[in-house]
């Protein structure tokens, strides 16, 4: 049975303190929030940080807010927001049902009590559901350091599997999702059992003008797609009539751009087939929601 290697522990009580601690330990420290990615890796000793910096006291970063500034309207989700909070949030359900779809299939209810939005994004697992959803939604991540803050598109956040563009002494503090009136969104995931990573998953949003696609975002998890985005499918659909044929072609384009790895979850042909089928379903359900049919 697996136990972690010796490690040191520090608890941060503010973002500034967390940044100081990160600075002090260089690259040898890891922030720990929910811990349900880091601790399993520590138990297997795949991760052996010198120090874990506990940021669970940063409750100031646990929020879901509508922000309405001049010309800019977005949903702001604090990085310490737990998965279960996102799942239970009416504001999120009202604007982006895709997030509820995804949260229902992220891990399990007990793990969702601890796991956080920031943690999921920063883990950058190629099968991370939330990364795919927020990529599809073209969300932004706010990253804070001792020098100030910067905003990075979630589509540009990951830098390879389990790597992000965050520097050693930076913290992701907030995710911002633009409000798109009339948008419909959906997430479709195939998993072997509850709590599993996806065999394949696709998330999409559409904004429709009558039957024309005014805006669309499509992203995929566990399919070997760079940054998860199905950009050709998106470009194809934008400005086009949302017909069955268009959906079929978009799904074909999305699947063609995948590079899934054959593994215990399935062979390449199966995963590509899922990419195609799940893209259709996500787009159709997103459109149904946009047009009030469901």
């Amino acid at each position: 049975m697996q136990t972690p290697a010796p490690v040191d522990y520090a608890r941060a009580h503010s973002v500034d303190e967390a940044l100081e601690l990160l600075e002090r330990y260089g690259g040898e420290a890891r922030l720990i929030a929910g811990g349900h990615s880091l601790i399993p890796m520590m138990r297997l000793r795949i991760a052996q940080p010198e120090c874990v910096i506990d940021i669970n006291d940063l409750t100031d970063l646990d929020y879901i807010r509508m922000v309405d500034t001049a010309g800019d309207s977005y949903l702001a989700i604090g990085a310490m927001t737990r998965h279960r909070t996102v799942l239970a949030s009416p504001v999120i359900g009202e604007h982006y049902a895709i997030l509820h779809d995804a949260e229902r299939v992220i891990a399990d209810p007990i793990v969702r009590n601890r796991g956080t939005v920031g943690g999921s994004l920063c883990q950058a697992d190629p099968a991370e559901d939330l990364s795919a959803v927020l990529s599809a939604l073209r969300a932004d991540a706010v990253i804070v350091s001792a020098n100030g803050s910067r905003t990075v598109s979630v589509r540009e956040l990951d830098d390879g599997p389990y790597q992000t563009v965050l520097e050693d002494a930076e913290i992701l503090t907030e995710v911002r999702i633009p409000i798109r009136p009339g948008a419909g969104s959906a997430y479709e995931k195939v998993e072997r059992r509850t709590g599993d990573w996806a065999v394949a998953a696709v998330g999409a949003y559409v904004v429709l003008d009558g039957d024309t696609v005014r805006d669309v975002g499509i992203a995929m998890a566990a399919l070997g797609v760079e940054h998860g985005c199905a950009t050709e499918a998106e470009e194809y659909l934008r400005g086009r009539a949302f017909t069955a044929d268009a959906v079929e072609e978009a799904a074909r384009l999305a699947a063609a751009a995948t590079n899934p790895s054959p593994d215990q979850r399935g062979p390449v042909t199966y995963k590509r087939h899922l990419a195609d089928e799940l893209t259709r379903r996500a787009l159709r359900r997103a459109a149904d929601r946009a047009q009030g049919r469901i």
């Binding site: 049975m1 697996q2 136990t3 290697a5 010796p6 000793r45």
Partner: protein
Amino acid sequence: MTTTEERPQNRVSPAGNPIGFGRMHRKEDARFLRGQGNYVDDVRMPGMLESAILRSPYAHARIRSIDTSAAAALPGVHAVITGETLAGLNLAWMPTLSADVQAVLATDKVRFQHQEVAYVVADSEYIARDALELR
């Protein structure tokens, strides 16, 4: 006239045992429900030690040698046992219930991935696990 059929109530024999319809409540449940089970990992005895097993990453490989010195030197480790130790006591291969023999710890070679190669006995499962890293 209406008749209703009532499910017979649980009856109890003169000795106090439930009879007829209904079911017998298990005697052991109360203890389990209170977290007072005594599963193997719950057993605590004075001076009890914990262990960890080193397993082969290879499916089929000859064992040239096993250096147990670093593991044995770790504070809190009481013993590092290999197939060689057991072979000296005629315990490396033990009879099974199917009238054949099974390797307890690999001696000359490993024959399947994760076959047991060494056994560390230490003060805690944490220290025992630490010792596995030291080769």
